[in-house]
């Protein structure tokens, strides 16, 4: 099937306006004749569900959390970008568009990114109207700060809890829609299959996590807003329950999975300390506004940081990238830190980190200003490590944080399966090969508040007068049976390895061979090892208990089973992309000074993979990327 991205004609600035005028509308009185299922209640899902319900659609919302407010968007710390130019520093929609395309290493669609920059300003207005308590200046106006990959201050924030406040805004809008617009909420319900009938998405199959009951829901359209797949690596900054299951089960029903190898490593996480470690904790990128990253110049320097004089310190980001300094984009900073640690200059008991030092900033700004800006982050660091960052520099190391890849979608955010829409981190569309800081929140809310409410109408309008496929249709029954069979199979294995042990094995393989640096050799090794873990999983996994009451090991087993299939695709995509770009760094393809070396002639395309069966080679479909406005060049932050 050919991929039609449906990018509108016309000049860049007019594409979205023209498109909104050109697409079909559903008139207000007819909207109630359409049923829509939204899966996931993070920024994208909650904002979409609330906005669609306000328009008059019948909306059902499914989340595996106990409350929509728990979705992982809540953990985002730093901020949200918007091209408001409130700081009078030269920002514009075009500049945000340009920064995002460049930051994404020229692997995103121009039209989508421009639209994102356009609606970014509306997001801030919407959130302020909802009562999101953004940081203010003394005069009462909104405050901004700067973030990596940009030379302007365009990031809006609410202390170190921006994701929390934006999600609560969207959650409250959703709860208002439950109260006033009849949204039906299904908490503690996990989506386990997408049902396709006659080439259209007919609904989903879910499992009630409290009772184990498997049931179907049908609708005219399904919206997946189910987040990213960073937990394939076991250790990541993702919440423990974040998973690829919804997206992967859609992929197994025919939705194409695009660019899975684009994984983002966040440079400033707390280094791992031991095998029992269950997750890694991110320290907001905003810290790089005032913190300076350094390692000792000497190898194996065991002096405590305060005993190392200035002359013996290497502020390697400032040295290598004088223009952006400590605020280079995430992929660049991560690789630079890895380079130092690999060379033996790492700090901390396991020599697995670099310092992030606030000494100079504290001297310049005073303790109080630092506390005002970063107090809660410092406390969090202290709580986890037992070290006080006001006195001892923080130690940081990169970790898996975000995944730019996801289900392929067109300009309307619809996958290649008609009626299946994908929003937020779950889709692949806007960040190319690397996402800039404070842009995930922007994209999630753009998709949910300001894109899907318009574009879904174009799909629904011609369906007026049709009823959703009934849930006793054989397509639903077959799907329910498959879900049920898998649950029973997992419970019947009664093996000797726990789900976490097998997940950790997969994580090690992915991180060691398909992490910050990848090579043909390491990727081939991973491709040989993953199927072996998968085989062992299905022979030797231990899931105790029953289906009929809450069973967290069973839930986790289903998710890890999907990671074990998906992980192979991630590695394969990395192997087939013979270039380095953004978060995908192939050791064979680098410049003399170790920067990523893109191959625009051969790889300026989106790789959208069609699943063909477990262990069978997937088929790649290519969407070529055309840059009419921003000319791909070597990304330089020097």
């Amino acid at each position: 099937m050919a991929l039609d991205s449906k990018i509108p004609e016309g000049p860049l600035e007019e594409k979205w306006d023209n498109h909104r005028f050109g697409i079909k509308l559903v008139n207000p009185a007819n909207k109630r004749r359409f049923d829509i299922i939204v899966v996931g209640t993070g920024l994208a899902g909650a904002s979409a569900a609330a906005s669609l319900a306000e328009l008059g659609y019948n909306v059902k919302v499914v989340t595996f959390h106990d409350s929509p407010r728990r979705a992982h968007s809540i953990a985002a710390q730093g901020g949200i970008n918007a091209a408001k130019n409130y700081k009078n520093d030269g920002d514009s929609i075009y500049r945000l568009f340009y920064d995002t395309i460049k930051g994404g290493d020229y692997r995103a669609r121009e039209a989508n990114v421009y639209r994102l920059a356009q609606v970014s300003v509306d997001i801030i207005d919407q959130c302020v109207a909802q009562g999101v308590p953004f940081a203010r200046e003394y005069g009462g106006l909104l405050d901004n700060r700067s973030f990596g990959g940009a030379q302007v201050s365009r990031t809006f924030y609410a202390r170190g809890q921006t994701g929390q406040q934006l999600l609560l805004g969207a959650y409250q809008a959703l709860m208002r829609a439950v109260h006033s617009y009849g949204v039906q909420l299904y908490p503690r319900t996990e989506m386990l299959d997408v049902v396709v009938k006659d080439g259209r998405t007919a609904g989903i199959v879910c499992r009630d996590l409290n009772t184990g009951e498997v049931f179907s829901m049908s609708a005219h359209a399904v919206v997946l807003a189910t987040g990213g797949y960073g937990n394939a690596f076991y250790l990541s900054t993702n919440a423990k329950n974040s998973n690829v299951t919804a997206a992967w089960r859609a992929a197994k029903k025919g939705a194409y999975f695009a660019n899975p190898c684009y994984t983002q490593i966040h440079p400033t996480c707390i280094p791992a300390s031991d095998e029992f470690q269950s997750k890694l904790t991110l320290m907001s990128e905003s810290l790089r506004n005032d913190g300076r990253v350094w390692v000792p110049k000497k190898l194996d320097d065991t002096r405590s940081p305060d005993q190392i004089p200035e002359d013996d310190r290497d502020y390697f980001l400032e040295r290598r990238y004088p223009a952006f300094g400590n605020l280079v984009p995430r992929d660049v900073a991560s690789r630079a830190i890895k380079h130092e640690v690999d060379a033996g200059r790492g700090v901390g008991p396991l020599k697995n980190g670099a310092y992030l030092d606030f000494g100079e900033a504290t001297g310049r700004l005073g303790h109080d200003v630092i506390e005002e800006r970063y107090g809660n982050l410092f406390e969090m660091y202290d709580r986890i490590t037992g070290e006080d960052p006001y006195k001892v520099p923080m130690r940081i190391y990169p970790a898996i944080h975000y995944t730019m890849g996801g289900l392929w979608v067109d300009y309307n955010l619809m996958s290649n399966l008609p009626g299946l829409f994908v929003l937020g981190e779950a889709n692949f569309s806007d960040h190319g090969a690397n996402r800039l800081g404070a842009s995930a929140l922007m994209q999630g809310l753009a998709d949910g508040y300001f894109v899907i409410p318009y574009t879904i109408g174009d799909y629904l309008a011609p369906l007026l007068g049709t009823k959703p496929v009934p849930i006793d249709d054989p397509a639903f029954e077959e799907s329910e049976r498959a879900v049920d069979d898998q649950v029973r199979r997992l419970l019947s294995i009664k093996g000797h390895k726990t789900v976490d042990e097998l997940h950790r094995e997969l994580g090690h393989v992915l991180w060691d061979n398909c992490g910050m640096a990848r090579s043909e050799q390491s990727l081939s090794k991973a491709l040989a090892e993953i199927p072996a873990i998968r085989d062992e999983f299905w022979k030797n996994v231990c899931v105790l208990g029953e289906n009929e009451s809450r069973n967290q090991a069973l839930e986790k087993a289903g998710r890890v089973a999907d990671f074990l299939e998906f992980g192979e695709l991630l590695v394969l995509d990395a192997l087939k992309r013979n270039e380095s770009c953004g978060g995908h760094f192939r050791e064979e393809y680098q410049t003399e000074d170790g920067e990523a070396l893109r191959d625009d002639e051969h790889y300026a395309y989106v790789a959208a993979w069609e699943w063909k069966g477990v262990g069978d080679a997937p088929e790649v479909h290519k969407e070529s990327l055309n840059f009419e406005y921003v000319h791909p060049s070597t990304r330089s932050y020097k």
Binding site: S51, E54, D66, S67, P68, R69, R70, H72, I74, A75, K84, Y86, I124, D125, Q126, C127, V128, A129, Q130, G131, P133, F134, R136, G139, G140, A158, R159, Q164, L168, Y171, Q172, M175, R176, H179, L185, N210, A239, K240, S273, D274, F276, S278, K279, T281, L282, M380, R383, I384, T385, G386, E387, Y449, T498, D500, E501, C542, L544, S549, R550, Q552
Partner: protein
């Protein structure tokens, strides 16, 4: 950083379902690293239980960064354990001593029915938010964000209230099982801001009355503030009570204006 491994004894509430009978079970946990978080210690216990063919302890958790509000249980009678302003996932074993005996129980409140072991159902909190915990603006049509200047102190106070993570520790810590701290945090986040004024009085009445259908009454024990992982101040309860009293009068005046 790390030092010698500790030996901990855990007594945990085990209950297989909402209607099953529950009981305490005790487990010896050797080899606890002080650098483990409390939940990582439970992960290790669960791995060992599963290897012994026993069902793991069910507990809610997700972000493990103290922000999602999923986790939480009573540790030796204290909601989220002994460290102030800290959710269970951010509590580390270095706060305990070698040889400690810890008793873990779920939140106990009629408003939070038990699901399994340490997991409770907190959907009553969603019902309180649903009854008015929002500013009633739809998507689209919002004026420029800088149109309404908000004094920094007001924005900061609203943010202090908005920091609530909805974990339920306030209810669990309260001898009356009252949800005043949770309710007042959302109410005052919105009632303090100019955006929240249009619905202020309706919101106050609806949220307070919904709260009262599920939870107990506040008698100023102040346990909620002490247990709160975000240190939400009970000042917000006082402001809520003031708004509730005012709302009764304001509502009456509106009725008077509409039907003279």
């Amino acid at each position: 950083m790390s030092n010698a491994a500790m030996q901990i004894t855990l007594t945990v509430w085990r209950q297989s379902g909402p209607d099953a009978e529950g009981k305490f079970e005790t487990y010896d946990v050797p080899g606890v690293s002080p650098d483990m978080s409390f939940l990582e210690m439970l992960d290790v216990v669960n791995e060992r239980l599963m290897h012994d063919g026993k069902e793991p302890i069910a507990f809610d958790h997700d972000c493990r960064e103290g922000i999602c509000g999923s986790c939480g249980f009573m540790i030796n009678g204290q909601a989220h354990g002994p460290e102030r302003a800290t959710a269970t996932c951010q509590l580390h074993m270095r706060k305990f001593r070698d040889g400690d005996h810890l008793t873990i129980e779920p939140w106990r409140s009629a408003g939070f029915p038990l699901i399994k072991d340490l997991i409770v159902d907190r959907t009553t909190f969603d019902r309180i938010i649903e009854s008015g915990g929002y500013v009633g603006v739809g998507t689209g049509g919002a004026p420029d964000g800088n149109l309404i200047p908000i004094p920094k102190v007001v924005a900061d106070a609203a943010m202090d209230a908005a920091a609530c993570i909805g974990c339920g520790a306030c209810v669990a810590a309260c001898p009356n099982g009252a949800a005043q701290l949770f309710t007042s945090a959302k109410l005052q986040h919105l009632n303090l801001l100019p955006q929240g004024q249009a619905e202020r009085w309706d919101r106050t009445i609806n949220m307070v009355e919904t709260m009262e259908t599920y939870f107990g009454s506040c008698t100023n024990h102040q346990e909620c503030e002490a247990a709160c992982p975000k240190s939400i101040s009970i000042d917000f309860i006082a402001l809520m009570n003031k708004d509730y009293a005012k709302a009764q009068l304001k509502q009456r005046r509106l009725v008077g204006q509409s039907f003279p």
